[in-house]
């Protein structure tokens, strides 16, 4: 094992020694590569500054402007929407108030009409009642007059039959009528 390691180490050291003799230092830069790197990079930088990048930056600016304009337009639309909504709500509140006023007015008018009609009906009923009372009174008076006349005739006839002589019909009739009137007033 030790011999194998020794052989391997010797082989490796021989390889490294040979390589060291032949290989240039790979870390050190070479002039031609530096020259081309410098030329190419400076050219790329100039192209980037004056040709390649400006359109991209212009696009960025246009997009930023568009985004800003759209945002402003959106904000304006939002403001208009809020204003419109407030206006609509104000109109709605006005309409509601107007509707309530109309309802109140209709209700009060209805009440007044109802009261008027009730009053008229009551008056009509009172009139009808008075008329009926008058008619009753009239009928009652007529009935009483008719009744008193009949009662007087019957009573005078009966009295003449009792006393066997004619009586003064007018005086007796007056007495009967006075009696009937007194009796009617007592009822």
């Amino acid at each position: 094992m030790l011999a194998l390691i020794t052989v391997l180490a010797e082989t490796a050291s021989t390889d490294v020694a040979n390589a060291t003799k032949e290989v240039k230092n790979p870390i050190l830069p070479t002039l031609n590569e530096m020259f081309w790197a410098l030329v190419v990079f400076v050219l790329l930088w100039a192209l980037m500054k004056y040709v390649l990048l400006p359109p991209i930056m212009k696009t960025f600016q246009e997009r930023a402007d568009k985004v800003r304009d759209d945002l402003e337009a959106a904000e304006a639309a939002e403001t208009a929407r809020v204003t419109k909504l407030e206006q609509y709500e104000a109109e709605l509140a006005g309409a509601r108030a107007e509707a309530v006023a109309l309802i109140e007015q209709a209700r009060s008018e209805g009440d007044a009409e109802r009261r008027t009609q009730i009053t008229a009906a009551e008056a009509e009923v009172a009139a009808a009642k008075a008329e009926a009372a008058a008619e009753i009174a009239q009928a009652k008076a007529a009935a009483r007059a008719e009744l008193s006349g009949s009662i007087a005739d019957i009573a005078v006839g009966a009295a003449e039959a009792v006393v066997q002589k004619p009586l003064d019909r007018a005086a007796q009739g007056q007495l009967v009528e006075d009696y009937v009137n007194r009796a009617g007033s007592q009822n």
Partner: protein, 255 residues
Amino acid sequence: MIFGLEFPPIENLVEWPNLFGPKDSWYGFNKIALINVIALVATTVIFLLARRSKGLVPHGVRNLVESSVAFIRDGIINETIGPDGLRYLPFLVSLFFFILITNLFEVIPFFHMPGNARMAGPAVLALITWLFFICAGLKAQGPKYFWSAVAPPGVPWPLLFVVVPIEFLSTFIVRPFSLAVRLFANMLAGHILLVTFTVLCITLFSATLLIIVLPFSFAMLVALTGFEIMVAFLQAYIFTILAAVYIGSSIHAEH
């Protein structure tokens, strides 16, 4: 040769011959340079495709580009520098896309080499960032930037003898170095890991009894590929956000 497995030497993994230009010349165009150029072209094409798409709502490539730029603007600049850091957006977007695309070449077939697994790319980007945040500080604060960068407010003056050298090293030396090394080392390590498991898979496929290890090695290779994609994004993000933090600390004296 280790345990019967032959791994390629490191230079085979990270050094590439020139596609054109003489060897060791300062303008030699190799695979890494090609990756850088493709990253430039790809970024340009992606952004141009995004420009062609119209409409207010982004889709497809435009969505990808706008999301990335918005992420760097909101998630990095606004969080680290503030609204006044928007003027640095082109630089930071360039950094992010360049690093991201060059990193993603780690898992792109026929390339399989992250551009930042070589020190040159990260070093250049770190040096540019270093210069950038110094210039941004000078522009914002004038010459007093150098003093505010090394002398944090509220430090008692005797401590300044200790703090100033530390802050100087930290701000002007360590920052670019750590930026470059972090990106380079992460990408190189990932590249070596993927190569290691690829070599293992190939070797185990032809071995005898060791073939029973092959499924595990292959599973690791697949998992590490996914992991490297995540690392590519993460390193691009880290480099970019650190660059933004450094710029922010330069332009704001109170930091």
